[in-house]
């Protein structure tokens, strides 16, 4: 064991830069992923410097905390369920059926992914709030309240169903319709074919999508903060309130640990149990043939349901857009540019801050993701599994937990970072690198390693090989990693809200503040700006990556 580790290190040391790089990445993951988490654990077991289990005893003593846990779990489960149903339906219709407008519908389905996660919460307030367009203006309801369980569930379903859709789309697209044809051919009815062939084959994918949505819902911070209301406590906002409202770090840390447990459990199941049971690879080529297992009537019914969801997406964004240009929603619908004037005047520093942070974060996170993928797939070194695990871990850790961890870890020696640009950048880089690593490793595993060996053979060092050969070859993963990092940096809230300061503030935090003080118009204007910047950035990143890899589009593997 030790001798293999030593000989692995010796081989690695032939490329000193590579060795140094591995060491730096190890250290960085320890400091910026593991250490903050550890601090949360430690803090949750302490009270004024003394070790104690008292914080956890509060879980059983205080109704508020028990309710918060129960509410978070039940919302997570329900949102997971509804999200998967919608996602499955949309994925089935858009991959397997012959219906018009599939491309447009696909894009509409994924728009919620690239906007701030609580845009839907704002839309819901516009439509169903106290002065909501539908509840008040159209239906004239006086005492309807959107706050609480149903508000959060609605808003989260809208936000996270697209994630289920994306992951199920890959699963369904890779189940060959010939299997269904074969079953039909031997005399099964359509209904039987679906329940006996298609559904069982996609079941691991369904379970996986459910768990992903569950994790996202548990970790969600913005929607609950806007829509849960005081009568419906939930874990993530409660942990935040403990810290910012009552300055009780220990209890905030304890709630974080409680929040962490179901998330990590779901992540472990998803990654180590279900992922192995996936019958089909998610990267499989979409097959051209369309499914015959639904009758024409059912086909159009399913299609109508997908259209309905797409229409909801359009309506929610339409409302945000109109709201951004409306004087006072609910009272005065005169068009105005006042809200944008506010954003570009008083609030403009927040816009530039956010942009600076996102622009710094994106390339670092993207490159780091590709580099770690390269190291993990192509090199052997001691602790490789630990490195991979550590770098992917942060995906499963709710942002609130990370935020509290960073506050605890970087508020005092040896690392004092609070209030700096650096703490935000580091937090984002390490939170968003796992997606890059995963898509990078997936593509890299399909590329013949001798292409990179050839580069080395011709005299390229490991780093040159990475830069001149690996990176261009995994350009699609690089692109999605960059887009993901940028989108997340522009739209993140749960961890960031603990780390912003007067010096460095974020638009998402502003949106939340504006909602809190009832200025929905300004919140909507900020949201529109965020979405516009994100769309623009996707185009730019695409152009850059395409340029970087001119010949790639002609490559067949």
């Amino acid at each position: 064991m030790l001798t293999t580790a030593r000989s692995q290190l010796r081989i690695l040391a032939r490329d000193p830069i590579l060795l140094a790089l591995v060491a730096v990445i190890f250290a960085a993951i320890l400091i910026f992923v593991v250490y903050p988490l550890m601090m949360v654990f430690i803090a949750s077991f302490q009270e004024r410097g003394e070790w104690t289990g008292a914080n956890y005893a509060l879980m059983s003593e205080r109704r508020l905390y028990r309710n918060a846990l129960w509410n978070s779990l039940s919302v997570g489960a329900l949102v997971g369920l509804i999200g998967v149903v919608i996602g499955y339906l949309a994925a089935f219709v858009l991959t397997r059926l012959d219906v018009p407008g599939k491309r447009v519908l696909h894009y509409l389905m994924i728009v919620p992914i690239i906007s701030p996660p609580f845009v839907s919460a704002v839309s819901i307030l516009f439509l169903f709030g106290f002065n909501g367009l539908i509840t008040r203006q159209l239906l004239g309801l006086q005492d309807f309240s959107i706050y609480g369980f149903h508000g959060v569930v609605w808003s989260q379903v809208f936000t996270f169903a697209p994630i289920a859709y994306l992951s199920l789309r890959g699963v369904l697209a890779s189940i060959s319709p010939t299997l269904e044809d074969a079953a039909l051919n031997i005399g099964a009815s359509r209904w039987q074919v679906f329940w006996k062939v298609t559904f069982p084959l996609s079941l691991p994918g369904v379970a996986s999508a459910f768990l992903i949505v569950f994790i996202e819902s548990m970790a969600d911070f913005g929607n609950p903060l806007v829509l849960a209301g005081a009568a419906f406590p939930m874990l993530a906002p409660q942990a935040y309130l403990e810290i910012t409202g009552s300055f009780n770090l220990a209890r905030g840390a304890m709630l974080s640990v409680i929040l962490l447990i179901p998330s990590i459990t779901a992540f472990a199941i998803q990654r180590y149990w279900i992922a192995r049971r996936q019958y089909v690879t998610v990267t499989g080529k979409p097959t051209a043939s369309t499914s015959k297992i639904v009758s024409t009537r059912v086909k159009w019914l399913l299609y109508a349901l997908v259209l309905l969801f797409a229409a909801l997406v359009l309506m929610f964004y339409g409302v945000i857009f109109v709201g951004a240009f409306t004087q006072v929603w609910g009272f005065n619908y005169t068009p105005t540019l006042d809200h944008f004037a506010y954003v570009f005047d008083v609030g403009f520093k927040t816009v530039t801050d956010t942009l600076i942070i996102a622009i710094i974060t994106t390339p670092i996170s993207g490159l780091l993701g590709m580099l770690i993928a390269f190291l993990v797939v192509r090199r052997v070194f001691p602790g490789k599994r630990a490195l991979e695990f550590g770098s992917i871990l942060s995906y499963a850790v709710p942002g609130t937990v990370v935020g509290i961890g960073y506050v605890l870890a970087f508020n005092g020696p040896p690392f004092i970072l609070t209030g700096t640009l650096l703490i935000l950048v580091l937090c984002f880089v390490f939170r968003y690198v796992p997606v890059g690593i995963q898509s990078g490793t997936a593509i890299l595993r399909q590329i013949d390693p001798s292409i990179e060996e050839a580069a080395q053979n011709l005299g390229a060092s490991a780093l040159t090989t990475f830069r001149k050969v690996t990176l261009p070859l995994i350009a699609p993963a690089f692109f999605s990693a960059l887009v993901y990092a940028f989108v997340r940096a522009m739209t993140a809230i749960s961890a960031a809200i603990f780390l912003v300061s007067a010096n460095w503030n974020l638009m998402t935090v502003q949106i939340l503040n504006q909602v809190g003080s009832g200025r929905l118009g300004v919140a909507a204007a900020y949201s529109v700006v965020v979405i516009a910047i994100v769309l623009f950035a996707i185009v730019v990143i695409n152009a850059i990556v395409t340029r970087m890899t001119r010949h790639m589009n002609m490559v067949k593997f």
């Binding site: 001798s450 292409i451 060996e453 580069a455 053979n457 011709l458 390229a460 001149k468 050969v469």
Partner: protein, 354 residues
């Protein structure tokens, strides 16, 4: 420029991917000296460790023990990118995102050559490999043979000390393979680069090698010129792997002759008088005659293969032999059941050791 390659007691054991704790012994105690400018092929069946040996020389695999030297210099701890041993991969491993020209100059660019020199060297090699007209194409606009040439050009433009080939022709069709084989040999001889060439095709090995290394499940069975390994195989495995052979058992009569069922044949052996030895009798070294010869035989099977007729004959007490007779188109074919005589050619007999 050309460099000798020395391999001393080289071993490679992999941790078995199937059974934890067990090992796959891919290369066992390999010893080999390659002289400057020589082309040596590593020949053997699938899984015998050829690629592993080559990859250890290129630096992609770490030897478990033993030494690799280029000239005087021990290479074990030299990183692959500093070995100056250019490799032509079985899958070509062409950079798909770079044009043909950029593929060829990839290594030169890393050496920070001036643009003029870069272009001069690349143009020369492109011309030699017949790629000049397609320098600006993308690799996937090339045929398999052309891609193979890019891989070759990319390696030789480096003017390396050692050239390594891992089954470079195995993805090509038969005709192109013959043609590329000649081209590679020509080029290698003209440039005088020391080369190691992996193949499992014995014809390919025979036609291009100065010497052949025959491998069998990790062991080197024999090293010799194509003539040597064919005429004097060191083991039954080598004899069977390179061409076809019959293996009758004879008895040592004296140091220069053996007795094959009463017929004295001139075969030098090192054994004692009365010892049993196995002879290697190539099918084409057996003459058939209707009237006279050493052994009476019956034709059991006759096959017309174009350039030869292949017979299976049975000799009482010696079993079945395979016999090739050239030019059957003119001579006509013997019929199964026909009685004939068979005589081993005295000049091409060989006895296996032990």
């Amino acid at each position: 420029m050309a460099e000798s390659v020395h391999i001393h007691n080289l071993e490679k054991r992999f941790a078995s991917p199937d059974a934890p704790g067990q090992e796959v012994h891919a290369v066992r105690n390999a010893n080999l000296e390659v002289t400057p400018g020589e082309l040596v092929t590593l020949l053997g069946p699938s899984g015998c460790g050829k690629t592993t040996l080559l990859r250890m020389i290129a630096g992609f695999e770490e030897p478990t023990s033993g030494d690799i030297l280029f000239g005087e210099r021990r290479m074990n701890d030299v990183a692959p990118n500093r070995r100056d041993a250019a490799m032509v991969f079985q899958s070509y491993a062409i950079f798909p995102h770079l044009s043909v020209y950029e593929n060829v100059v990839f290594g030169l660019r890393l050496q920070k050559l001036s643009d003029a020199e870069l272009k001069a060297r690349a143009d020369k090699v492109l011309a030699v490999s017949g790629l000049t007209s397609m320098a600006n194409r993308s690799p996937n606009q090339l045929s398999g043979g052309q891609q193979q040439r890019v891989a070759l050009a990319r390696a030789i433009v480096m003017e390396p000390k050692v050239l390594l080939f891992d089954e470079p022709l195995s993805n090509l069709d038969a005709k192109l393979r013959d043609q590329m084989r000649v081209e590679i040999r020509d080029l290698q001889q003209r440039l005088g680069i020391t080369s190691l060439y992996v193949t499992h095709d014995q014809i390919e090995a025979m036609s291009i090698s100065d010497r052949i290394v025959v491998m069998n499940s990790g062991n080197i069975e024999q090293i010799g010129t194509p003539r040597e390994v064919y005429a004097r195989p060191a083991s039954r495995f080598v004899a069977e792997f390179i061409g076809k052979a019959n293996f009758p058992e004879a008895i040592v009569a004296d140091a220069q002759t053996v007795d094959l069922r009463g017929v004295k044949l001139p075969v030098p052996t090192s054994g004692n008088v009365g010892d049993k030895v196995t002879l290697v009798l190539r099918p084409e070294a057996i003459a058939l005659s209707a009237t006279e010869g050493d052994f009476a035989a019956t034709v059991r099977r006759a096959m017309f293969l174009g350039n030869v007729a292949e017979y299976l004959i049975e000799i009482e007490g010696l079993g079945e032999w395979l016999v090739d007779v050239p030019n059957p188109g003119e001579k006509g074919l013997l019929d199964p059941g026909q009685q004939i005589f068979a005589s081993p050619s005295h000049s091409s007999l060989h006895a296996l050791r032990g």
